[in-house]
């Protein structure tokens, strides 16, 4: 019974982690950007979605939330990341630290701005389906089931997009060899725009689902970024399947700790595992050297 509970409870949270991390890792894989404003963008989706839901209803509100995240992602790219990448004054080998610092500052601006406008109280979006269902004796909120399903549907769609469409193939090719892609007449700029679009939508969906499942506020921004970062590193930077695996490892490890050890220690084993992975296998679980 306990094992079943752990299995079911860990699944939804892991799926949500996976959704949050996939966009982050895709962005890194394709454009080499570690976006430290990730948590802020996720929270923007949640807050705007919540505010819009009270006017437009839950469905439209969620949609507005996702669009808000998309807008925030574009703003991050055009106002912060691209100017840094193109600045002639920043040496190439230091672009990385500048992107990190720049997105971090941007994250603070979003966090403070959002806290000023919305207060730092966490908000929740009304679940799309209310009520509970009984899964082999475990009482599970219907919303939780739906979120797990939705996460996997979105991840599946992403897989189809990347593997079955031309634009998706180009995206994958850019992750492997951007120069080769330029030689074939692809504009890297539009590839980057595409990946930021996908990223924005994924972060947005993660944001509104998070708000509907657990509730989220501006104080969670740092934690959200850190957890996406660690999951992605654990899975192997740039490896989408690695991130999925790592998300489930972290999700279940946390749930197991909360159930079997103590709720106070919830985040600790995952952090220790992360350190271990980084030391023993720096390329991550499924990453290639």
């Amino acid at each position: 019974m306990l094992a079943l509970q752990i299995l079911i409870d860990g699944f939804a949270i892991s799926a949500l982690y996976a959704l949050g991390a996939v966009g982050f890792t895709l962005l890194f894989g394709v454009s080499g950007v570690l976006n430290l404003s990730h948590g802020a963008i996720v929270v923007v989706a949640a807050l705007i979605g919540w505010a819009a839901a009270s006017i437009l209803g839950t469905y439209l509100g969620n949609l507005v939330g996702v669009l808000a995240a998309l807008a925030a992602a574009y703003a991050t790219y055009f106002a912060v990341v691209r100017p840094i990448q193109r600045s002639p004054a920043i040496p190439r080998e230091e672009t990385e630290i500048f992107v990190l610092t720049g997105t971090l500052l941007w994250s603070i601006m979003i966090q403070v701005g959002a806290a000023w406008w919305f207060t730092d109280n966490p908000v929740t979006i009304r679940p799309l389906i209310a009520g509970v269902v009984n899964i082999v004796g475990v009482r599970t909120p219907a919303n939780e089931v739906m979120i797990a399903v939705l996460c996997w549907v979105v991840i599946g769609l992403l897989w189809l997009l990347v593997n079955r469409t031309r634009a998706g193939r180009a995206l994958l090719a850019a992750a492997i060899n951007p120069r080769g892609l330029v030689l074939l007449g692809f504009e890297l700029d539009s590839i980057y725009l595409l990946v930021w679009t996908i990223y924005g939508v994924l972060a947005g969906i993660a944001g509104v689902l998070l708000a509907s499942f657990l509730g989220v506020g501006t104080n969670n921004i740092g934690q959200l970024t850190a957890s996406a970062f660690s999951i992605v590193v654990m899975g192997g930077l740039g490896s989408v399947s690695g991130s999925l695996v790592a998300a489930f490892v972290v999700g279940y490890l946390e749930t197991l700790t909360a159930y079997l050890v103590a709720p106070t220690l919830r985040p600790v084993p995952a952090l220790l595992l992360l350190v271990l992975v980084v030391y023993v296998r720096p390329q991550g679980l499924l990453g290639r050297r």
């Binding site: 031309r166 030689l183 074939l184």
Partner: protein, 488 residues
């Protein structure tokens, strides 16, 4: 100890499945200069890194003045008496030239915070010797390229190493500077150092070296005096190929009118190094033009300038309109498609996926017919259709790269060094495919090659690129007589 300062034996290095260095051995005595030559990808730079400990050898021995140092960390090998001059270096920007040289003489200690007093005088002396006396107190970013190279040389010898390794000593230097550098390196001989010069070809180092060792595909192919090596049949085949045939179609150029591609006075600077100087050439519709030149002459730079991948000065016109201001991708879509020497395949993707990406902009029907045609042209590709590109052999990868470029239906195909690192039997297949291409289609090709035998049979016209400039232009049939002798 037998007077040999550097002794290398049985050196092996693998990178994954690729054998980069295979059983290389040589020795250099005090006061001797050895040239290590080989085309790009031959493994010569890897040998240098193995000696310096930057890469660890899989097998073999490296002895410095009798001490076995193979497998040591770099800094210990350096302390054992090996100095290296890198081709590219990153000096300390906030420190002066003098301080940069002094850096090389600091003790490797956490407790000695200040340099020993004699260091200052010695740094000045070395700076003077390499010709930096005038610029001692300038900062590196303000120095001309040659002075930066001098500074690197000064750093390498500051510690008075017994063995000096120099990577491409003359790349990017003007003739006068080459002379000054040669004199400097020659002076190491009288100082009793063992010197290893690593370069693409014998020509660059012929005046300086006592002996030359030639490598190809990781293997030792010839050794001896510069003249011996230049005359060696294997070396000549690697660099020049075999006997030269030509099948020029001069009538194509004679038609006159506006050329398809017109390059006028193009120059390229890499930082401070002149990679291309005032180069002009043209290619007419349906022509097959070859640009021959040794590695490092500037072929790749020229092609990258045409394709908009590196900034250049001068004028490049495509179908009469200037290319300036168009992105590299737009140029590619406009019909100039490059198949680069590095191939730039998508390693994790299958052969078919690579090809499909090349034909992305075609209609499905067009793409299918193009694919069928290429599969016929390169019969090995359909057999490898589902395999990941990185698992292919070098020759197969090259064919895939060419096929992928052709998928774009280019107006002008730029082929950069397609023979790079390929075995002779593969060259033949490739050559056959090119002949077929030239015979059955009206495609325009600009080929860059070091291997003259490979380049000439297909060519309608030939340019010779040497030291960043075009030095000869004409009918392939006249090449052997007019330019062939001075080529290698």
């Amino acid at each position: 100890m037998n007077g040999k300062l550097l002794e290398v034996g049985g050196l092996h290095k693998r990178f994954g499945g690729l054998v980069a260095v295979k059983d290389i051995g040589f020795s250099i005595a005090a006061g001797e200069i050895l040239g290590l030559i080989g085309p790009n990808g031959s493994g010569k730079s890897t040998v240098m890194k193995l000696i310096m400990g930057i890469e660890r050898p899989n097998a073999g021995s490296v002895r410095v003045a009798g001490t076995e140092v193979a497998g040591w960390p770099t800094h210990r090998i350096a302390r054992a008496g090996v100095g290296i001059v890198f081709q590219h270096s990153r000096p300390l920007h906030r420190q002066t030239v003098l301080e940069n040289i002094k850096l090389a003489m600091l003790p490797d200690s956490l407790l000695r915070l200040a340099a020993a007093p004699h260091v200052e005088a010695r740094a000045r002396e070395i700076a003077e010797r390499v010709g930096l006396a005038q610029v001692l107190h300038r900062h590196p970013p303000t120095l001309p390229f040659a002075d930066l190279r001098r500074m690197e040389l000064a750093k390498a010898i500051a510690r008075d190493p017994q063995v000096v390794l120099i990577d491409e000593p003359f790349a990017g230097l003007t003739a006068a500077e080459v002379k000054a550098f040669s004199d400097l390196i020659a002076s190491f001989r009288t100082q009793g150092r063992a010197v290893l010069l690593v370069d693409h070809n014998v020509k660059g180092v012929v005046a300086l070296v006592d002996r030359v060792l030639a490598m190809y595909l990781g293997e030792h192919i010839a050794e001896g005096s510069a003249a011996q090596v230049m005359a060696d049949a294997t070396v000549r085949r690697v660099y020049l190929g075999g006997a030269i045939e030509t099948h020029a179609r001069p009538e194509l150029d004679a038609r006159g009118g506006k050329p398809l591609l017109d390059v006028q006075g193009v120059s390229v600077l890499y930082g401070k190094a002149q990679a291309l100087q005032d180069v002009s050439l043209h290619v007419r519709e349906q022509e097959f033009v070859s640009v021959v030149g040794l590695n490092g002459a500037g072929k790749t730079t020229l092609f990258n300038a045409i394709c908009g991948l590196v900034p250049s000065s001068g004028a490049i016109a495509w179908q009469g309109a200037p290319l300036r201001g168009r992105s590299a991708a737009a140029i590619a879509r406009g019909g100039i498609v490059q198949c680069p020497e590095s191939r730039e395949l998508f390693g994790e993707m299958s052969v078919r996926e690579n090809l499909e990406l090349g034909g992305q902009h075609l209609t499905p029907a067009d793409r299918r017919s193009q694919l069928d045609w290429l599969f016929a042209l390169f019969p090995i590709l359909p057999q490898r259709e589902r395999q990941a590109a990185r698992t292919l052999s070098g020759g197969e990868q090259q064919m895939l790269a060419i096929a992928r470029a052709l998928m774009m239906k280019p107006r002008l195909l730029i082929l950069d060094e397609p023979t790079l690192g390929l075995a002779p039997v593969i060259l033949e297949q490739l050559s056959k495919a090119l002949s077929e291409l030239r015979r059955t289609t009206s495609i325009t090709v600009l080929l860059g090659e070091q291997n003259v035998t490979f380049a000439l049979p297909h060519a309608d016209r030939v340019y010779v690129l040497e030291h960043a400039r075009i030095v000869w232009e004409g009918d392939p049939a006249r090449f052997a007589a007019e330019a062939g002798a001075g080529y290698l």
